[in-house]
Symmetry: C2
């Protein structure tokens, strides 16, 4: 496998960064220098540098130059996968038990979070996801009916809310938080865990361009679930 020219330049610079040729914050070769060194056009060098910048390895400033990144903050990717796919990809059986699937009137706090009037109609589902028969996630979700009118018609033993929403709406933005806390009494019962067992709780709000599509609280027994991430330049 012969690397493309832009990839060779990237690799050369990555090697130098890993070897400490350029200390964090140090000035790196200019585009013109790399053009001369590698005998390629400036667009090719530019692509290599732009990708290194996108990966957070270098910082570039017009008029100043390209600098080795000061890696004081590592920004990394956390993949929030559809749980169904995640379980199946492990070769295990996924089963969803639907506890609630109905329209409700939104309490004031919920309405505010969804950007609706207090008392407006919202769709509510409460589903417990099992992996090989063991409860893994309690998914408590509210959906803005305007964004997905047919949401309640889905059969959530055969598909997942995430899948339905992604098929019927255009995702625009998502906010989430991850925290550790104790489950509610109901969640503890549904997950079959002790009332004080630590749980990993993800709260996620998903937006279309102008409206909140859905608000979800995903509760996982701490002993059975963890998020993993990997960061590679």
């Amino acid at each position: 496998m012969v690397l493309a020219p832009y990839a060779r330049i990237k690799q050369h610079l990555k090697d130098g960064l890993a070897a400490g040729t350029w200390a964090p914050g140090a000035l790196m070769p200019s585009e013109a220098e790399l053009v001369a060194q590698f005998g390629v056009s400036r667009m090719t060098v530019n692509r290599a540098l732009k990708e290194l910048q996108a990966e957070g390895l270098v910082e570039r400033s017009q008029g100043l130059g390209t600098f080795a990144a000061r890696l004081h903050l590592v920004s990394s990717t956390l993949t929030l996968r559809d749980l169904h796919e995640e379980i199946e990809s492990r070769g295990h059986a996924h089963r969803a038990v639907v506890q609630v699937q109905r329209a409700e009137k939104a309490a004031p706090a919920l309405a505010a979070q969804l950007g609706l009037r207090s008392g407006a109609r919202v769709f509510h589902t409460l589903i417990v996801h099992h992996e090989n028969g063991v409860p893994l996630q309690c998914e408590d979700r509210y959906v803005n009916p305007a964004c997905s009118p047919g949401y309640l018609d889905a059969d959530f033993t055969r598909t997942t809310p995430t899948q339905v929403l992604f098929e019927t709406t255009a995702l625009w933005r998502a906010q989430y938080t991850v925290q550790a806390s104790a489950p509610t009494a109901q969640e503890a019962r549904l997950l079959g865990i002790a009332a004080r067992e630590p749980c990993l709780v993800l709260t996620r709000r998903t937006f279309s361009r102008d409206a909140v599509i859905t608000l979800a609280r995903l509760v996982h027994p701490g002993a059975r679930y963890q998020l993993q991430g990997d960061f590679q330049p």
Copy 2:
């Protein structure tokens, strides 16, 4: 502010995706069509599409075309910031209490994780970070002496391990997990919390090109800390 041509094309496609012009998985305009439509060169169209691909909004296949992304997995950025910077940026006071700062012999399990011989010398620090006097994080860290020989000389009441390591080593790769669990008895004592209080535990291994630089366990009281993320196309 007039957008550059490539940015205009990106925005046009983003608007269409948000408006549902192309359903997830649907075929989008080819580069040639966009060239004709916008009256720009193919490199410019290519840049717009390549950036949308990098952002996860479209999928591209040579010979097939460009497709609206099936957003079944949302990959999002979680910024793992240096805690000192995070606290200061909130305008609060950061104080670090150093409990342990010494060289030790690595137990077999630890040595394996660091890629060292059992019994090899490792640097060990245990530091409790406070925000405005309240314990926020218990940082238990082991460092490979070969990667940062001067690690133990640092004054960790004035700087942080993260900062020292980023200044003296070339970060190459990091793996981490996030989970909820109860603190150890020692952690509960240091954080001033109950033995059964749920904690958010981050475990992170950081690699240089060929070696493990450091292994860290970061324990946060669940009630006082949460990770936040935001995903925007």
